[in-house]
Every structure is written in structure tokens, then in C-alpha cells.
């Protein structure tokens, strides 16, 4: 990434406070309400350092989930949860008997790593399920749980097609990634993206990120990585079933399921009408039958 022209204005190495529009310097984007922001996570650049996990925990003051070894490659985090809003997945592709492959195609061909998070869906099922209005779309087109409204009904948990949002046992509220709502308000790049040393996590305006991602796929195809594709960009896997695009989308090189992602998720609220209509029609039928049976005055 190129250094922003404004960088010249700040030659010193220590600052008294937050720089105005700091994201311009760190991510090349000025954060303004009313625009769409998100992440493009390019898994071919991920080195599995988990800086994003750590930065997220630190900035958001999130407690540790479990301190132990899972035995699943280097993934000791396991899954996203109420306290874990970034999760780096590790998939070691070990060849069968006879040893490893003689030749390794470039770009993560034998070891996949992906930093997962809330997808900030365009039509978010968690929000559409929320009966209190605690879940809402922010002025940055991201999806956030308002902690002072959530009453812990837990309906967003099964609604999410990606298994992201979860109730916390500690405070009885639903929690998930806020896309650093507080930082965006202050003009700062989200903590995970800022800490990512390889720019695997790129923060920016959605339209911008989508064209950047398409270019990257082209580039990788040119380099011989035919398996590269986008997940969650318009018209691609992940952005299916009326969910719309995902504001946090990915570049993958293997099947979505390998990364624990659904290939064709759907928008849960599309099932409200057919279900309610069928149910009410059933009840209307029974009401008529009851009128016929009980109505014969004895």
C-alpha cells in the first residue's frame, strides 16, 4: 500500500492525541457517516500470526475464552464467540501415505489460514430477528448490538447463518464484532486491520474493496492460483439466498466448508411469511371444521 500524502504532515514519532482522520494514514480511507465500510480478508496473505485476535481482545477489553490446546493445528481459539470476535482458522493439508507433495504450488497451497469474523451482512438475519431493536445498522453500514437495549432473548444466535453472535454467560447479553464502531466514530481504522502485518485484512469502503479484491483474484489467476475466488462479494458463494453482499468478505482458495463457511447461506426472514401464512390457513381450516361440528345445535 502506498503511503498517504498526509503522512508528511506528521514526521514525529509520538503524538499528543489521536490524529484527525487517522484511518487516512493507516488505511488510505477517510471514515464518513453515510458510507459503507467493511473488510476484505485476503487469505492468501494470512500468515496465521493472530495479531488481529490479540488487537481485537485488547481494544474491546474481551476476556479469554479458553486457555489450552485444541489439537487442531495452531487453532487454539476454536470458534467465534461472545468474547472472541476474530478467529484465525488453520487447515494443514497433509498429503496421504508416501509423504508430502514433491512440489508446492505458491500461496498457501498446503496450509490455509483465514481470519474469520462477523460478516456484517447486507441483509443481516441477526438484526431481522432481533425483537428489541438492540441490533441495528450503524451510519457506517455495519451491524452492532446495543448493549443497553439487548435483553438476552438469544433469538439472534440461531438466526445468524454463520454461527457468529452468542450470548455471554457473564452479562446475559448478545455480543459480536462491532467493526470497531467506537474507532470508526473517531476516524480510526478497526484494530484488527490496523494490526495486520501482511495486509491480509484490508479495511475500506465496500465498493473500493470489492474492486481491489476482483483485481487480486485476477492477479492470482495470472500467477497460476486457479483456485482463488471471492466469498461474500456480490454474486459469489456466501452472498446467496437474498443475504445480499457481505461487508466482511474473503478471498479463498479452497471449498468454503474447509474454512467452516456455508456455501449457500440464506436470509432467514424470507421464511416468516410462508410459515405464518400456512399456519394461519391451517387454523382457518380447523375453525371451519369446528363450526361445522360444534355448530349443530343439540
Amino acid at each position: 500500500m502506498q503511503v498517504h500524502a498526509r503522512a508528511r504532515d506528521y514526521p514525529q514519532s509520538q503524538f499528543g492525541g489521536v490524529l484527525p482522520h487517522e484511518a487516512e494514514l493507516t488505511a488510505g480511507v477517510r471514515i464518513q457517516p453515510g458510507r459503507s465500510y467493511g473488510f476484505f480478508t485476503d487469505t492468501t496473505r494470512c500468515i496465521g500470526c493472530k495479531a488481529c485476535e490479540v488487537a481485537c481482545k485488547e481494544w474491546n477489553n474481551l476476556p479469554a475464552d479458553n486457555v489450552g490446546l485444541t489439537g487442531m493445528s495452531y487453532d487454539n481459539t476454536g470458534a467465534l464467540s461472545a468474547n472472541t470476535w476474530r478467529h484465525v482458522a488453520f487447515v494443514e493439508k497433509i498429503a496421504g501415505p508416501g509423504g508430502g507433495p514433491a512440489e508446492m504450488p505458491p500461496y498457501q497451497s498446503q496450509w490455509l489460514m483465514m481470519s474469520d469474523l462477523c460478516k456484517h451482512c447486507h441483509n443481516p438475519p441477526c438484526l431481522e430477528a432481533c425483537p428489541t431493536g438492540a441490533l441495528f445498522k450503524t451510519e457506517f453500514d455495519t451491524v452492532v448490538v446495543q448493549q443497553d437495549i439487548c435483553n438476552g432473548c438469544g433469538y439472534c444466535v440461531p438466526a445468524c447463518p454463520f454461527g457468529v453472535v452468542e450470548l455471554s454467560e457473564t452479562d446475559g447479553k448478545a455480543h459480536k464484532c462491532t467493526l470497531c464502531y467506537d474507532r470508526l466514530k473517531g476516524g480510526l481504522e478497526p484494530a484488527c486491520a490496523k494490526s495486520c502485518p501482511t495486509d491480509s485484512i484490508q479495511f475500506g469502503e465496500i465498493a473500493d474493496l470489492q474492486s481491489r479484491a476482483a483485481e487480486r483474484v485476477e492477479q492470482l489467476h495470472g500467477l497460476g492460483v486457479a483456485s482463488a475466488y471471492l466469498y461474500g462479494a456480490p454474486g459469489s458463494p456466501g452472498a446467496t439466498g437474498d443475504l445480499g453482499h457481505l461487508n466482511a468478505f474473503f478471498l479463498l482458495t479452497d471449498a468454503p466448508e474447509v474454512y467452516n463457511l456455508p456455501r449457500a447461506p440464506t436470509r432467514a426472514s424470507n421464511r416468516v411469511r410462508p410459515s405464518l401464512a400456512t399456519g394461519l390457513a391451517t387454523m382457518a381450516g380447523f375453525a371451519l371444521a369446528a363450526i361445522a361440528l360444534l355448530g349443530r345445535r343439540a
Partner: protein, 318 residues
């Protein structure tokens, strides 16, 4: 017909999170359906049934109080921040059956309370005029009652939980039929004991029909589950076996007993009573089995990955 998901998973870990709902919510779904349908039957008896239905109408209105009193208590107890229960009425969100249901339950509770109170005062103090009030309040109560019998199916189907999501229509039919069968069965019990045997038999016939509809709807749901590959991921699990029992024997056995009791006429009272008790038990078993099967399907990646295949887009039902 399609088969199980056999592709890769991420160390066999869940791809979805199961709902945090357990037995309290299953019990709520059951009682809400029973009470809602009882109110509906009572109102129909009141409007069309004449004198003979009076006892049934009264008992139906009492039964509706079960859901009115226990329903909100169960739901509030299930919240993880119960002191904020009133936030359920903070907004109305038509994309959320839980929001729609909060208003249905509130309407049902208020109108059912007025109905039952007017009935009580008319019975105890002889203020017959209040029966008109009861009737006026019971009409909106029974419309809300019909909603209460089925919205819980929409609530479960409008999630990403595979077992619930793949059969939105069939699940609503199952819950509607089971709600009506349990209400008719409960009212028939009361009628056989204290009331009018002819009304009891008509309720038995209604329960019989509803159980058959439930059986058909369950068969349809099984078709939905098989076609989408979710059934294969759950086969042999405990919730699946409980569901099969509740949807199979739980409907056919009481239906057979109701049928026998109808054929036997006055001598069929014992058969009718057993059928009613069985219906009431299997209704609760059905709700809890579906709750457990749903949660289990969310835990199993083979179920969620099977559901989320492109061939299941955009309409997962036939």
C-alpha cells in the same frame, strides 16, 4: 431425494450456534398452542354451539388463562436479562416472529383476561349481561389464539437452524394441528367428566381429524428434511428418535383410540380419556423433540453444510 453431506468440515466443529432455548421454551410453545386453540374452540362454541356448548365454552376460557399466566412467565424467565423484558414491546419488527409473537401474546393475554373475568363474574354474581362482554373480548382473543398456535413454528423456521429452517410450511401445519388436537383433547376430558357427552364426542372427532393432519404434516416435514440432506445428518440421534415417536405413535395411537371411542358411542368414554391424555402428552413431546432436534442439527456441520448447498436455493420446500 438427496443424501448426506460427505464433504470436508472444519475438524468436525459446528458451523452454526444452537439456539439457547430449552425445555422452558418447548413448554411455552406447547401451552401457547393449547391455550390459543382452546380459546378459539370456546369462541366457536359460544357463537355457534348454543346451550349445549356452554360448559365447554366456560372451560375453554379457563384453559386460555393457562397460556396467559404461564406463557409470559416462562418467556421472561428464559431471558438472560429478564429485568428488561419490556423491551420486547419497544418496537414492532415484521421480519421477526419473536416480535410479532410478543404482540400476539400481549393481545391474547389482555383479551383472554377480560373474557375470563367477565365469565367468572357472570357465573358467580349472576351478572348475565357480562356474558356479552366476554363474547366481545373472546373474538379478538381467539384470532390472537389462532396466531399463538402457529407463530412459534414461524419463529423456529425463520432461523438458520437446519432442522427448523428446511420445513417452514410443514412445521406450521404440525404446530397448528397439534395445538388444536391438544385443545380439543383437554376440552373433551372436561366434557366427558362434567359436561355434555355429545359435545365431548364432537370434540373427539375434531381431535381425531387434527391428529391425522398432524401426522400428514409430519410426513411432509420428513420429506423436506430428507430432500435437503438434513435428515441423514441427524439419523440415529436421540432427538430424532423422540421426534419419530411423538410424530408417529404419538398421533396414530390416540387417533385410533379416538376413532374407536367414536364407534363405541357411550361405551367409548375410557378410550376417549386415554386418547386425550396421550394427545396431551405427545403434544409436549413433539415440541420438545423438535426443539432438541433443531439444536442438535445446528451443532452438526453435516446438517448445516447439507442445508447450505446451492441446490437447496432459493426455495427449500417442494
Amino acid at each position: 431425494m438427496s443424501d448426506a453431506y460427505r464433504g470436508e468440515t472444519y475438524y468436525g466443529r459446528s458451523q452454526l450456534k444452537p439456539s439457547p432455548f430449552g425445555f422452558m421454551v418447548s413448554l411455552y410453545i406447547y401451552l401457547a398452542g393449547l391455550s390459543g386453540s382452546a380459546q378459539m374452540l370456546a369462541t366457536i362454541g359460544d357463537l355457534f354451539g348454543g346451550r349445549a356448548a356452554r360448559g365447554m365454552v366456560r372451560r375453554g376460557r379457563w384453559l386460555a388463562m393457562l397460556g396467559t399466566v404461564c406463557g409470559p412467565a416462562l418467556l421472561i424467565a428464559d431471558l438472560h436479562t429478564p429485568q428488561r423484558f419490556y423491551n420486547m414491546l419497544r418496537i414492532l419488527r415484521t421480519s421477526s416472529p419473536m416480535s410479532i409473537g410478543s404482540y400476539i401474546l400481549t393481545t391474547f393475554g389482555l383479551t383472554s383476561t377480560v373474557t375470563a373475568a367477565a365469565q367468572f363474574l357472570a357465573d358467580r354474581c349472576g351478572w348475565r349481561r357480562l356474558l356479552g362482554v366476554a363474547r366481545a373480548a373472546s373474538v379478538p382473543a381467539s384470532v390472537a389464539g389462532a396466531g399463538l398456535s402457529v407463530y412459534t413454528a414461524a419463529l423456529q423456521s425463520s432461523t438458520s437452524t437446519p432442522h427448523w429452517a428446511v420445513s417452514p410450511r410443514s412445521l406450521a401445519m404440525r404446530y397448528g394441528a397439534s395445538s388444536l388436537a391438544t385443545a380439543a383433547a383437554a376440552l373433551s376430558l372436561g366434557e366427558h367428566r362434567f359436561g355434555d357427552p355429545r359435545t365431548a364426542r364432537r370434540l373427539d372427532a375434531l381431535a381425531f381429524g387434527a391428529l391425522l393432519v398432524e401426522w400428514i404434516a409430519s410426513a411432509r416435514a420428513r420429506g423436506d428434511l430428507r430432500r435437503t440432506g438434513v435428515a441423514a445428518a441427524l439419523s440415529g440421534s436421540a432427538p430424532e428418535r423422540l421426534e419419530r415417536a411423538a410424530a408417529g405413535w404419538g398421533t396414530l395411537l390416540p387417533a385410533g383410540l379416538f376413532g374407536a371411542s367414536l364407534l363405541l358411542g357411550d361405551r367409548g368414554r375410557r378410550a376417549s380419556r386415554s386418547a386425550s391424555l396421550l394427545t396431551l402428552a405427545s403434544g409436549l413431546a413433539l415440541r420438545h423433540a423438535i426443539m432438541l432436534a433443531g439444536n442438535e442439527s445446528a451443532r452438526r456441520p453435516a446438517a448445516s453444510f447439507a442445508m447450505a448447498q446451492p441446490r437447496n436455493l432459493p426455495h427449500m420446500e417442494s
